[in-house]
């Protein structure tokens, strides 16, 4: 066995005397294309709704909730799938997101959110991650489909056009600041309101002062 292995190594490490340089570069190029393509295909395969909803955590929680929203069923029949909102289009950010997603797979294997109760308990955390991501990239994924330049506010309802004119077109807020819960049910939000958290912090330090 050992002899066989060392012989194979010797073969592999020997410079290629009988193969032309052209063949090598071409071969390398072709293999590169195959591997690269395979990598990207695998990437594309994980980039479908079938993949995202392949595990029950997603199918039984967020997917059923999506189904009753405009992003799943509407008059024009155009719809958004999971990766449309959750995976960036630019390649580098896509890879970055996939690396982060590997952590989610880890969560799957160790059952972090294997039941509805566990999912709900973890949900605010997960949602806040997404909100932070959207706030940071100015809701890029939303804007891949909805562009504020093409948005004709005069055709919108008064509520929508006033909000968009005051806060969106001025750049003061981004889509996700106002449209949380657009695709899924929201988690318990009582712990999520910033001003509440801030107020209770102020209150607590005041109470401490009184005690002293």
């Amino acid at each position: 066995m050992r002899r066989l292995l060392s012989r194979m190594w010797w073969l592999l490490s020997k410079p290629a005397t009988h193969l032309s340089l052209g063949f090598l570069t071409l071969g390398g190029f072709i293999m590169g294309v195959i591997f690269w393509g395979g990598f990207n295909t695998a990437l594309e395969l994980t980039n479908t709704e079938e993949f995202c909803t392949g595990c029950h955590e997603m199918r039984d929680n967020v997917f059923v909730e999506l189904q009753s929203t405009v992003h799943y069923s509407n008059a024009s029949g155009v719809r958004a799938t999971c990766p449309d909102c959750h995976v960036p289009h630019a390649w580098s950010s896509k890879i970055a997101r996939k690396m982060a997603a590997s952590k989610e797979v880890y969560g799957k294997i160790f059952g972090t959110i294997s039941t509805r109760e566990k999912f709900e308990a973890k949900r605010l955390d997960l949602a806040q991650h997404e909100w932070a991501r959207f706030e940071a990239n100015d809701s890029l994924e939303c804007r891949n489909c909805h562009s504020s330049e093409s948005m004709d506010v005069t055709l919108q309802s008064k509520r929508a056009s006033e909000a968009h004119e005051r806060f969106l077109l001025t750049g003061e807020k981004t889509c996700i600041s106002c449209h949380k819960g657009i695709a899924h049910e929201l988690p318990d939000m009582s712990g999520a309101q910033e001003d509440h958290a801030q107020n209770s912090a102020v209150l607590q330090s005041y109470l401490k002062e009184l005690e002293n």
């Binding site: 309802s157 509520r159 929201l186 988690p187 318990d188």
Partner: protein
């Protein structure tokens, strides 16, 4: 006694509705064994124009669509715009002070649990055909009528 009276009333009105061949059910007049083509959903009013209240105690109707607005123990989308602190951004009317009162008319610090599920009382409007003719008369008209007939009023 009361139940007898009520059931008698129900029987009388139900037979009246049937005998006059009026609409008695949401199904319309289609025979039981046939499948009836349902009327299309009327469009919900999203005009953002606040409507007249028919009497002062009426919960105002909602002049905008509320599709997909979550109202459960975790989150209340209505309060995202109608709460005391939200109205500067949303420019919506604040839930009135009655929404902070418990059943003993005590004011609570936040919206009272009995006023939490907004759509119990507030509903959006759609252009639909009423199943029965509505003979409601506004109280102002009643007052006018009394004034013109008795010269008194108020």
């Amino acid at each position: 006694m009361k139940t007898i009276l009520i059931s008698a009333f129900v029987v009388v009105t139900a037979t009246a509705a049937f005998s006059e061949n009026q609409v008695a059910t949401l199904r319309g007049k289609a025979p039981l064994a046939e499948t009836y083509t349902a009327p299309t959903f009327p469009k919900v009013d999203n005009s953002d124009v606040r409507q007249v209240r028919n009497y002062p105690e009426q919960p105002p109707v909602i002049p905008h669509k509320i599709d997909g607005y979550q109202i459960d123990t975790k989150f209340n989308k209505c309060l995202d715009c109608h709460s005391r602190t939200a109205i500067e951004v949303s420019q919506a009317p604040m839930v009135s002070i009655t929404h902070f009162m418990d059943r003993d008319s005590q004011f609570l610090a936040s919206v009272s649990p009995r006023r939490y599920f907004c759509t119990q009382c507030h509903v959006p409007q759609a252009e639909g055909q009423p199943l029965l003719e509505n003979t409601f008369v506004d109280v102002d008209q009643v007052l006018d009528y009394i004034k013109s007939n008795e010269g008194g009023g108020q």
